[in-house]
């Protein structure tokens, strides 16, 4: 047998290149291209009265300066609303260059093209824009009060009102033996990949073709958008996502203004044009996420079992809604986690503010939903004096209740039906891993030393692998190497290794023989994109199916060559052989040669397939009617529904009794993402996710002042964790294969981040003995809360039993 590589911690194929400085990110490509800088709005809300570019015209090295008026036809029109939804009654998208009005600091107004970025920025400094100020709407409460409007024609600043309902939650709550209400808040953060966005475009006037390199999570869709906007035939546009320095959601949004403007300038000027976002630009013009206010009303019995859950959410969607209301949809559905809520109602108001747009950041609304549910679980346990793990367990969906239909509609437009999972088993593992049942002794011992510690837990379920589809292409070359292509993109998830492992196993070749290309429309034209922890599920299964087709064809051709029944053949280490009878073999390289009847030979190997070397049956066409030349195959995977991964985190924190400084002593993760392709890569995804979860719980927030200025738009001020802030992670896992796809995979990309704020709030609350309802939390905020608690102000503000 070929050494099986699926499930093995195979070292990554992409690493040697990336480690030796040979990676190719967008800004590494296109040396000598013209470079772009933008004049961006310094104001959150204003009308543009006048733009005076004359001061910039004599800057040496300026090639072109464009404002909205210069953009022809569809190029200047508002960007598309990517995901329309009935509830999104007032969707608004920006113009690529602002027309008349700006709605957030950072919105692009003027585009400057110059010989290099230094010169382009010189010119930007000399362009004068005159504004008439409008009142800025900043913060969810201000947006909700709607004293001022972001968009004149959007009443109440409400972009969408989304209701998700199953049963009569209000009645169920009203009739429940106990009722609690919680007011919760989560602040903004952002994906913040280390590489910002970047676009490089090359127009070939002789060939009338355009090639665009962009740091995106959705190259095929960028291609469609660029072709439509520039009114070019789609087959004259190629879009490549080369190495991408992290995405985490922000690069799924497309087309960004720059993704239209840079290619358009390249065509218009007939020159190579490049734009590379700098860090400040990324802070003020790329997307953020998370910010929500939540009101939870929950009815439950004395056992802690939920009877009804009635949640109201106010979601800050920023200035525009190009990505629709995906985040609110995910929050309102994934809030349910592994639990049966009884009757459920969620109402979400998606509100405009004069701030950067809000679109999915790893977790994509789930951390907020998880926060609402997990804070509620802790509040119930506290109210009834029950163990927090017990309350959770009592509300779990049991394994024998799978598949479980929540009676709601998920983000893919399909019913929210959990396919599989064993939540009690996960909880059991987690409790053992962290020592849940022994913690009281630990706490007592710590207390005796004057130390203050607390333990918390949080559970989540994540819908992964959403459709509609992905495709895969697999080809065996005549030298026996295998090339694989899939359309979705890669931002560090190790697809070149994971997909190679899948194909290697399906075909029976060593993994080193397989080379994978992702996110390049020249190599695979149809794709959706990399988001929602879908790549491994979608493209993993697609390349597996394609490889199965290739294997079938290889066995058929080899059967003819070996005069054997294909059913008696196997492929081992790239050689087709008769099972159990060593001797009669044919290598896949030869099968590849034989699969392609030739007139011309170009080496010794291919001579074997030429017309006089293999005359074949003179009565039959060389390529049969239902066949194609080449040992290759393409297939698609399109699931009926998402597959649901799950996990649970627990943490132990120690808090300084004087300074309220919070240290994480232990952080434990149990996760179940179905069949593992490469455990090392999955573990890496968990680590990275947890780091972002911890960041969102203790460090990161976007600090806007009332005027809509982002006060911490740099890595000096936005507290992205360094190694010293991230705890060591102890992980264990379950493998409950998904019944929905051939490989049994569930997604893992976002898992680590989802319960971060919830688990740390739970642990801090446990350590302090008072309610934590707002994250992130800094030591000074915690200190403040302590003081308020001591003054007995705390108990009336957050929780009250209305019975």
């Amino acid at each position: 047998m070929t050494t099986r590589s699926l499930g093995e911690p195979v070292a990554r194929r992409e690493d040697p290149r990336l480690l030796s400085g040979q990676g190719r990110y967008v800004d590494d490509i296109g040396t000598g291209a013209l470079e772009v800088a933008f004049v961006r709005s310094p104001h959150a809300h204003a009308r543009i009265v006048d733009i005076d570019v004359t001061g910039a015209l004599d800057v040496d090295g300026i090639v072109a300066i464009y404002t909205h008026e210069d953009l022809p036809g569809r190029v200047g029109e508002p960007l598309p609303l990517l995901i329309p939804h009935d509830a999104l009654t007032h969707g608004r998208t920006p113009y690529p260059l602002a027309k008349d009005e700006v709605n957030h600091v950072g919105e692009p107004i003027v585009m400057v093209v110059a010989t290099d970025r230094y010169v382009a920025e010189d010119a930007c400094d000399r362009i004068q824009v005159e504004f008439d100020f409008l009142p800025p709407v900043v913060g969810i409460e201000v947006a909700r009060d709607a004293e001022h409007l972001v968009h004149d024609d959007v009443p109440g600043n409400v972009a969408a009102r989304l209701v998700q309902e199953s049963g009569d939650a209000r009645a169920a709550v009203a009739q429940a033996p106990h009722v609690l209400e919680l007011d919760l808040e989560i602040e903004r953060s952002a994906s913040m990949p280390m590489e910002g966005k970047a676009v490089f475009a090359r127009w070939d006037a002789d060939d009338t073709s355009l090639r665009v390199y962009t740091s995106t999570q959705a190259s095929t869709s960028v291609r469609a958008a660029v072709a439509a906007k520039l009114e070019l035939p789609a087959d004259r546009v190629e879009v490549v996502a080369p190495d991408v320095g992290g995405g985490f959601g922000v690069k799924i949004v497309h087309p960004w203004p720059e993704e239209i403007l840079v290619p358009w300038a390249a065509v218009t000027l007939g020159r190579e044009v490049k734009w590379t976002e700098d860090r400040r630009e990324h802070f003020v013009s790329s997307a953020h996420e998370r910010g929500q206010l939540q009101h939870v009303k929950v009815g439950f019995d004395s056992e802690g079992r939920l009877h009804g859950l009635d949640v109201t959410i106010w979601h800050d969607n920023g200035a525009y809604t190009p990505y629709g209301i995906i985040v609110p949809i995910i929050t309102t559905t994934q809030l349910l986690g592994p639990y049966k809520p009884g009757a459920y109602r969620a109402e979400c108001f998606s509100l405009y503010t004069n701030t950067v747009i809000v679109t999915p950041y790893r977790g994509a609304g789930r951390p907020q939903g998880c926060f609402a549910m997990e804070r509620t679980m802790d509040a119930i346990a506290d109210h009834l004096g029950l163990d927090r793990a017990v309350v959770r367990e009592r509300n779990f969906i049991r394994p024998d209740e799978m598949p479980y239909d929540h009676g709601l509609v998920f983000q893919d437009g399909r019913p929210l039906i959990y396919d599989s999972g064993d939540y009690p088993a996960s909880l059991d593992k987690l409790k053992k891993l962290i020592g849940w049942d022994e913690f009281d002794d630990y706490r007592a011992a710590a207390r005796a030393e004057g130390r203050q510690v607390g333990i918390g837990m949080a559970c989540y379920v994540e819908g992964t692998g959403v459709g509609p589809y992905e495709g895969g292409f697999v080809k065996v070359e005549t030298d026996g190497s295998v090339v694989v292509a899939t359309g979705l993109t890669t931002q560090g998830q190790g697809h070149q290794t994971a997909f190679a492992q899948i194909v290697a196993d399906e075909l029976g070749v060593p993994v080193e023989k397989v080379t994978v290309t992702t996110g390049d429309t020249r190599r695979f034209k149809y794709a959706v994109g990399t988001f929602a922890s879908r790549a491994a599920v979608m493209s993993g299964n697609a390349v597996a199916l394609a490889a199965r087709n290739v294997r079938e064809k290889a066995l058929r051709i080899a059967g003819e060559a070996l005069e054997a029944d294909p059913r008696d053949l196997e492929i081992v280490d790239g050689i087709v052989q008769v099972k159990g009878t060593p001797g009669a073999t044919v290598p896949l390289s030869t099968v590849a040669v034989l699969s392609n009847p030739l007139r011309y030979a170009f080496d010794e190997e291919t001579q074997r397939a030429t017309q006089f070397a293999t005359p074949g049956d003179p009565e039959k066409p060389p390529v049969a009617e239902d066949d194609e030349p080449g040992l290759e195959g393409t297939d698609y995977y399109s699931p009926a529904r998402s597959t649901f991964a799950n996990g649970m985190h627990a943490a132990i924190v120690e808090i300084d009794p004087d300074t309220a400084e919070i240290s994480i002593l232990r952080y434990c993760v149990v996760h179940d993402c179905g069949t593992l392709i490469n455990p090392r890569i999955v573990e890496g995804q968990i680590h990275g996710g947890v780091a972002q979860g911890v960041a969102g719980a203790l460090y990161e927030r976007m600090v806007y002042d009332d005027a809509g200025q982002l006060l911490n738009a740099s890595f000096m001020d936005f507290l992205m964790p360094y190694a010293t802030e991230v705890p060591r992670i102890e992980a264990d896992h379950l493998e409950t294969p998904s019944p929905l796809n051939p490989l049994g995979i569930k997604g893992a990309g976002e898992a680590g981040v989802i319960p971060g704020a919830s688990v740390l709030a739970s642990a801090i609350e446990d350590a302090e003995g008072f309610r934590i309802s707002r994250m992130p939390i800094s030591p000074s905020e915690l200190y403040e809360l302590r003081q308020r608690h001591e003054r007995r102000e705390q108990n009336t503000t957050n929780t009250k039993d209305s019975r």
Partner: protein
């Protein structure tokens, strides 16, 4: 006429990068990071912030002003905070120069692959150079020291745990080499 309307005065910068003499003529304000990436075509050095916080642009330098603290491979500097003209006559090592003479991965790079110390790879060049310099100073760090050693570099992908492991693994690989 303004200061930027005339062509900027340019300066010749001669230096040795990864053992190879290189030279380019650039304006005085050209950042060393841009100089390496765009004038010399060594795009392995990345810029994640251009304000000296993330460490992605870290390169190792010997010569150029300070001679008090030169290790074997030089001291780490943030090339996004330096002008190229300040490094006329210096010797610089970038991530491309951290490979073995035959082009195979050097010990720090190999350790990153062994321990899955990178995901997107964008921050990685800065870690590789930083750790290379650190291990010259402290060839056998503890886990805690390893974590401290990388605590000036940002990574958004890995959560750092496997980078800490990579530091320890690199130390091991280097000592094996020295030892045997």
């Amino acid at each position: 006429m303004s200061d930027t309307s005339a062509a900027e005065p340019r300066h010749e910068v001669n230096l040795v990068v990864n053992g190879v003499p290189r030279s380019a003529t650039v304006p005085a304000r050209r950042l060393l990071s841009d100089f390496l990436r765009h004038d010399l075509g060594l795009t392995g050095t990345h810029t994640g912030c251009e304000h000296g916080v993330c460490g992605a642009c870290t390169v190792l330098v010997t010569g150029a002003g300070r001679s008090d603290d030169e290790g074997v491979s030089g001291r780490p500097i943030r090339s996004c905070l330096q002008f190229a003209v300040m490094y006329d006559g210096a010797e610089i090592t970038t991530v491309e120069g951290c490979t073995r003479p035959d082009g195979e991965l050097g010990p720090v790079q190999q350790a990153f692959q062994d321990c899955h110390g990178l995901q997107c790879g964008f921050c990685t060049p800065g870690f590789v150079t930083t750790i290379t310099a650190y291990l010259e100073e402290n060839p056998s760090p503890s886990e805690e020291e390893a974590r401290e050693a990388i605590s000036g570099n940002l990574c958004r992908c890995t959560g750092y745990q496997n980078i800490v492991a990579s530091v320890l693994r690199a130390a091991e690989l280097k000592s094996e080499e020295v030892g045997g």
